[in-house]
């Protein structure tokens, strides 16, 4: 007969007291450290490396890598930059996937001479009112130099 093991919910007043002592900020700091460690490990696995190979590439001792992955390491910017460089990713990638990425950027300078513009629309247009009281836009035929080409 198979025996199934279920997670046991443990309630303890002592444990609750200890948890109550942890401030929300400390909780967040721990969470960030754990997430950072998990992300580094994900990138390492995506490269197909194990801890020893990663340690070798980073020039570190395997025990140090284990410490990094424990989620308790308070990384310095220098160490994170070193890790990102070893993994071939941007430093920001370690903190999560960017929602919006810049994919293209370019600047162009063009010049135009408006002596003979292709589109001419003189404003304000002269207006009139028909017998029903609706507004009519008067014809600008005499002001539109290209009208004769497309009107029958």
């Amino acid at each position: 007969m198979n025996k199934t093991t279920k997670a046991r919910k443990y309630n303890s007043s002592k444990l609750q007291e200890l948890l109550d002592e942890v401030t929300p900020l400390e909780m967040e700091q721990t969470k960030v450290k754990m997430q950072l460690a998990a992300r580094i490990e994900d990138f390492m696995r995506a490269k197909g490396w194990n801890k020893s190979q990663f340690a070798e590439k980073a020039g570190k001792n395997p025990s140090e890598i284990t410490k990094w992955f424990s989620g308790t390491q308070n990384f310095t910017t220098d160490v994170l930059t070193e890790i990102a460089s070893t993994l071939g990713v941007e430093l920001t990638a370690l903190f999560g996937k960017k929602q919006v990425q810049v994919i293209y950027r370019n600047e162009i300078v063009v010049k135009s001479v408006a002596t003979q513009p292709s589109i001419v629309m003189t404003t304000p247009m002269s207006q009139g009112i028909d017998v029903y009281g609706y507004c009519l836009l008067a014809s600008q035929g005499n002001k539109l130099p290209f009208t004769k080409y497309y009107q029958a």
Binding site: F43, A46, K47, L87, G88, V89, E90, A93, K97, K98, Q99, V100, Q101, V102, I103, Y104, R105, N106, E107, I108, V109, V110, K111, S112, V113, A114, T115, P117, S118, I119, M121, T123, P124
Partner: protein, 151 residues
């Protein structure tokens, strides 16, 4: 919804929104002297939002006088496209970077520039920038290899 199909490039997309981000006019010192020559400084920036299958193309146009000494006006337009088959067309690399086909970027840039031309005409009609129609731009200038700004 538009479909662009050929041997190696099939994309299904639609315009989700066109937003006028900014539009401004600056009257020259001598308003009675017509400005007939305009210089357009165009900057294009494209951004992709993979989870939402969106691509944003932001076109900023700065209109200057003949010798680039006076800024006569400025306009920014954001064109938002939904790429329906985003996952098929755009590959996400190991490091999270998006690999977008060059032709798609060029196509979106051309559409966005044309849209900006229309928005610009509509915004500036009847003003002293009435004749500042954005000229037709060679699509080669939008090729990914021709990028001048890389930040």
């Amino acid at each position: 919804m538009a479909k662009i199909e050929n041997k190696d490039f099939n994309v299904e997309m639609q315009i989700r929104a066109i937003e006028l981000l900014n539009g401004s006019l600056q009257l020259p010192a001598e308003p009675n002297t017509a400005v007939t020559t305009f210089n357009f400084n165009i900057s294009i920036e494209s951004k992709a939002d993979a989870p939402n299958k969106l691509i944003f193309v932001i076109v900023n146009v700065e209109i200057k006088n003949d010798d680039h000494s006076i800024v006569l006006g400025a306009l920014s337009v954001s064109c938002i496209y939904e790429i329906v088959n985003f996952d098929e067309v755009i590959k996400i690399e190991e490091n999270g970077k998006l690999d977008i086909p060059q032709r798609l970027i060029e196509t979106l840039n051309i559409i966005s520039i044309s849209t900006t031309r229309g928005v610009m005409f509509s915004t500036f009609k009847g003003t002293f920038l009435h004749g500042a129609v954005l000229p037709i731009i060679d699509p080669k200038q939008f090729q990914v290899g021709s990028q001048k700004v890389e930040k």
